[in-house]
Every structure is written in C-alpha cells, then in structure tokens.
C-alpha cells in the first residue's frame, strides 16, 4: 500500500528548527508537528510512496539506520498523519 498527501493539502507551514506549524486544508485545524513528521510529508509531496520507500528516504536524509525501529516510527507517523487527515492511502 502506498501513501499520498490527501487531495487539496497544500502544506502551508511556519517552519521551525525542531518542529513546524502546519495548516490542514482539509479540517481547518492547525498542527504542531515534529521535524520528522514534516520530512515524511515533504517526501510524499514529491510523490506517493510505500512505507519501505518512506523509511529509505528518511534513513537517508536523517542518517538513521533503516531498521525495525525506524519502520515502527514510520508506521506510527503514517497512522497519526492519516488520523489528522493530512495523508491517505492510495492504490499502488
């Protein structure tokens, strides 16, 4: 399964060093998100991707080990961002 930015999300944000404020075009809410969550969203802005691809991109950008721990983090972020209506699953 792949993930993509939810249709209509423009990712307006006020960027900070460790976190950013993001406007949710879908709900009208404003979220304070960690830098890794922002990196996740920025990756999907380029194109939809599956969890393995997202893990690889984050591991590369953040110099993480691409291991189970990262996979758990990415799965957890996907759930959270999906719950906020910022991303959604899409067909491969």
């Amino acid at each position: 399964m792949k993930w993509k930015l939810r249709d209509g999300q423009s990712l307006r944000m006020l960027a900070g060093q460790d976190e950013s404020v993001v406007y949710n075009d879908h709900s009208g809410d404003t979220h304070l998100l960690s830098a890794i969550a922002i990196a996740f969203l920025q990756h999907l802005r380029k194109s939809p991707d599956n969890l393995a691809g997202i893990c690889a991109a984050l591991a590369n950008d953040w110099e993480f080990e691409s291991d189970d721990e990262l996979q758990q983090l990415v799965m957890s972020l996907a759930d959270e961002l999906d719950g906020l209506g910022l991303i959604e699953p899409c067909l491969p």
Binding site: R12, L14, G16, Q17, D18, E19, S20, V21, Y23, D25, G28, T30, L32
Partner: protein, 312 residues
C-alpha cells in the same frame, strides 16, 4: 484641516447630543455612536474621549446606547442596559457600572464584528516603527505593563484587541482607554501622576475597575499601521527576578492562535495572517515583578536591530 474632536464640543452640547441623536466619533478604523442620558457616563466619556475625532454624518459601524431599564426595579436597585444596534447582548448591570460596561461593550462590538481582521486578545504597542504584541490571560499584568509602557515612549495601539490586517499582516491601531483593575489602579496613579483616570467602580465582575485615558499622540496616530516586531508573553510574579526567555516561533504561533478571537473562523487566511505576524517577530516569555525592570527590558529590545532584518 484636522477633524473636530469631542473636546471641541461644549459640555452642554455634548450632553444634548448624547441624549438625542448620539455622539458619532472615530475610534481607530471604526466609527461608533454613543447615546445615553446617564450623567456619570457623559462625564467619563468627556474626560477620556476628548481627543477622539467627531465623525461626520449619521453612519456608524456600531450604534451603542446605555439606558436605564423600565420597571419598578430601577427605583430600588438602579440598573443599566447596554444596547448594541438595537439588541441587548448582556444582562443588565448596576447603574454605577455603566461606563465600564460601555468599554466592555464596545470591545465586544469590535470582536464580534470585525472579522475582516484577525483579532488577537492582546495589548499592542509600538516604538521606532515596530510593534510588540502582549498576549496574556487575565491576571498576567498585561494592561498594567501596557499602561506603564505608553508612559515611557511607546505608542498605544490597543490594550485589549490586536487587529491584524489580513492582506499584509500589519497591525491596525484601536487606541482606547486602558482598563485597569484592583491593585493596578493605585499603582498606575502613582506611577503616572500626570495621567487621567476615570472614577473607580467597585464590585464589578472584575473587581474594582478604572480606565486610564489613552495618550493624545496615540489617538492622533490611529491611522498609522505598524509592523510586527515582537511577541512577548508577560507574566507578573511578585518578587520574581526579571527573565526574558526566547520562545520558538512555532510555539508562539500556537499560543497566539489560542488567544485569537476568530483564528479558526478565518481558516487559511487566519493562518497566513498569523504566520506573517509571527514570522516577522522575535518571541519571548517575560516574567517580572518590577515595572521599571520590565520597561528597561523593552527599551533594550527596541534599541536592537530586528533579527528579521534582511529577511524577505
């Protein structure tokens, strides 16, 4: 030719207008019309609003009236109603609270209607072209600090409502009397002995309240918008040493959004306007116990170049 001000009206003419068609006057970008037959409101209005320009014509953004309710009650427990554009949004109050009710009611008129601005519950003052926004909950010392600063070289934009123009995130003045309560009243009377105060009114929902007249220069410059420069979250703590702690802009954004009247209603335009303000501001938590120390801290901030200098 400068507009006539309320102080140009002889006392009898001011009262005649208040009792008949009302007094139309400019308060920042708004025109208001006040009607009342209550003498203590007329005298406080004359005392605190003398520098405000009279408005021509019969148009007003807000028509407000302070009236005595009909009925037997008025004979044994006199009350006052605040009427805004024909409606009574609040329960009646004891009649001696009529002038504070006018101030609260006029703030309510703006905060309920001026949705073409992002409205933040915060004091805002300006010096050298840059404004400091002071969002804070009641009891934080916001108005006391604001009152002290406007008697130390800062221009009053508002002690209660920060209006952000959505098109360019500039701050629009709404200089009105500064509302003080309880211990702040004698404190400011001693601190600024030249300032003009309304009579104190006790036993209101906020305790004892009084209004301090806005400086004439601030009223005269109500047409000059200001660039945001700082967001400072003040908190008075008896005996505390002064601390000025930087706050990340992201955190400041969320805190200011929580203090805004209409951030959620404005949607993406509210986000863009607030991002413009926060992005142009240096943000701090200020804890203080001494007004003089706090004013010195503001003085130091205003003398430093903006960290935003050179940014697009």
């Amino acid at each position: 030719m400068p507009a006539l001000t309320i102080s140009a009206l002889p006392a009898a003419e001011l009262r005649r207008r208040l009792k008949s068609d009302g007094v139309y006057f400019r308060t920042g970008v708004f025109t208001a019309c006040l009607k009342t037959r209550l003498e203590h409101v007329a005298s406080s209005f004359a005392l605190l609003y003398g520098d405000y320009a009279l408005a021509d014509g019969a148009y007003a953004d807000f028509h407000v009236a302070l009236t005595t309710p009909r009925g037997l009650r008025r004979w044994f427990r006199p009350q006052v109603d605040f009427i805004a554009d024909g409606a009574s949004p609040f329960a009646a109050l004891p009649r001696d609270q009529a002038f504070p009710m006018f101030e609260w009611g006029l703030n309510w008129c703006v905060s309920s209607n001026a949705h073409h601005y992002l409205m933040i519950h915060a004091a805002v003052i300006e010096r050298n072209g840059r404004a400091a926004i002071l969002p804070a909950p009641p009891g934080s010392g916001k108005s006391t600090l604001c009152a002290a600063l406007i008697h130390n070289g800062w221009r009053l934009l508002s002690d209660e409502l920060t209006l952000v123009r959505r098109s360019d995130s500039r701050l629009i003045p709404l200089p009105r009397p500064v509302s003080l309560k309880n211990a702040s009243i004698p404190l400011m009377q001693a601190y600024a002995p030249g300032a003009v105060f309304s009579p104190s009114v006790s036993d209101t929902v906020k305790g004892t309240v009084a209004q301090m007249k806005a400086p004439a220069d601030s009223v005269a410059r109500a047409g000059e918008a200001a660039l945001p420069g700082w967001i400072i979250f003040p908190r008075y703590e008896a005996g505390a040493p002064l601390t000025l702690t930087p706050v990340p802009r992201t955190r400041a954004f969320m805190r200011v959004a929580d203090n805004a009247f209409n951030y959620a209603q404005l949607g993406v335009e509210g986000f863009n306007a607030l991002a413009g303000v926060v992005g142009a501001s240096d943000c701090y938590d200020l804890h203080y116990s001494s007004l003089d120390e706090a004013i010195a801290a503001f003085e130091q901030l205003s003398s430093q170049p903006s960290s935003q200098a050179g940014n697009p």
